[in-house]
Symmetry: C2
Subunit: 223 residues, 2 copies
């Protein structure tokens, strides 16, 4: 049950991004969490190429998402997902031991998996024609592949990282979806896990909502 | 006040690391949080070069820290710091709006700053003699330097990211301490902020405790 059912939730997202980023902008994660617990929200769309100066007061780096619910203002998809999860047992177990596991996996996705993907992504998109970029990405890929193998071990034969879906799975699946950008050795158990997450109706609804908010193209910029 | 004053807190740390890692292993962040709120803890030390196989059940990647408090088992320094902060107003404001800001900064440190530092660190330590490594690190440094400038803007003339010290500052300072590993353009306001954090008695106590747990050297490996 939402803690404050009458307070409107607003998230900030972009009104356009290039084709490769569609379905991957991080407001998707917040939309997904809201869909899982059945909370309605409105979106405020900003221009990724011309961000309002005032927006930096809401999000220090001008990124999305940001989140407002009455006088609660959050940024960072992890902080927002945690806030939403705390409202509802469907994302966060009520027992302290189960809660501890879910929160650990939430941070694990964002601080033990994402940094390698971010590093590879920065090298890919910001290195121009540098001849060494594949080699540099391979250096970052190697410890990530080790972690993916260990993550598959942790998952074992279960559908989710614990004995039920939690906000930890939501963030882990959302993070691992970036693997499609690379050429990594991904264990089949991890690919299957991501596919299971993407098959959830709440994920599909969130994805459709993000895509619906994105204008199809932009003058002078191919979509 | 601790929620469960009679439950023993145990953290897992290493008994030895190379000289460059001393004072930077992430159990330091947990020790710092515990020192800020005056909670006692015991350490269980493991061998970084020969990790017990059973430990992977506690921490999926075999890293430290891990944390136990009765039947609450946590991993990831962010999850543990959040858990400790939730016990005590000195790290976490009690009003929902203030709490939202502190949690946002906690995630910001770990998911909007750390990934760049991790990427640079992996390139530095895993690229062998590759002639392109400085160039690759510079590619990752550029967006990080932009974020450091924006973080300095967010800090403004305040001592901390909000109007008081929170767990968000603890994690941001701990993350930014890795800047000393690089050759980045760091705004003076950020260096001063890190120095303010490191000057806190709780940080100094945590640092001394980590160093005291590390054996001075290891046969065949210079310290």
């Amino acid at each position: 049950m939402p803690a404050e059912p009458d307070t409107f939730i607003e998230i900030v997202a972009y009104d356009w991004v290039p084709a490769a980023a569609r379905g991957h902008v991080r407001d998707l994660r917040v939309r997904w969490a809201l869909e899982e617990v059945g909370l309605r929200y409105r979106t405020r769309l900003i221009d990724v190429q011309n961000k309002p100066t005032a927006y930096y007061a809401e999000q220090p780096f001008g990124q999305v998402p940001a989140y407002r619910e009455g006088d609660i203002h959050l940024f960072e998809c992890g902080a927002i997902a945690l806030h939403i999860a705390e409202k509802d047992e469907r994302l966060m177990p009520r027992d302290p031991a189960g809660r501890a596991r879910a929160v650990s996996w939430l941070f694990c996705a964002l601080n033990s998996i994402d940094p390698f993907l971010t590093g590879m992504s920065v090298i890919r998109f910001n290195s121009g024609d540098a001849p060494w970029q594949d080699e540099a990405r391979a250096v970052i890929a190697k410890p990530l592949e080790r972690r993916l193998a260990l993550l598959a071990d942790a998952l074992g034969a279960r559908s989710w990282l614990e004995d039920r879906f939690t906000v930890g799975d939501l963030m882990m699946v959302a993070t691992l979806r970036s693997l499609s950008f690379g050429t990594l050795a991904v264990p089949a158990a991890i690919s299957d896990y991501v596919a299971r997450g993407e098959a959830r109706p709440a994920f599909q609804a969130a994805l459709a909502a993000q895509l619906a908010d994105l204008k199809p193209d932009r003058e002078g910029v191919p979509a």
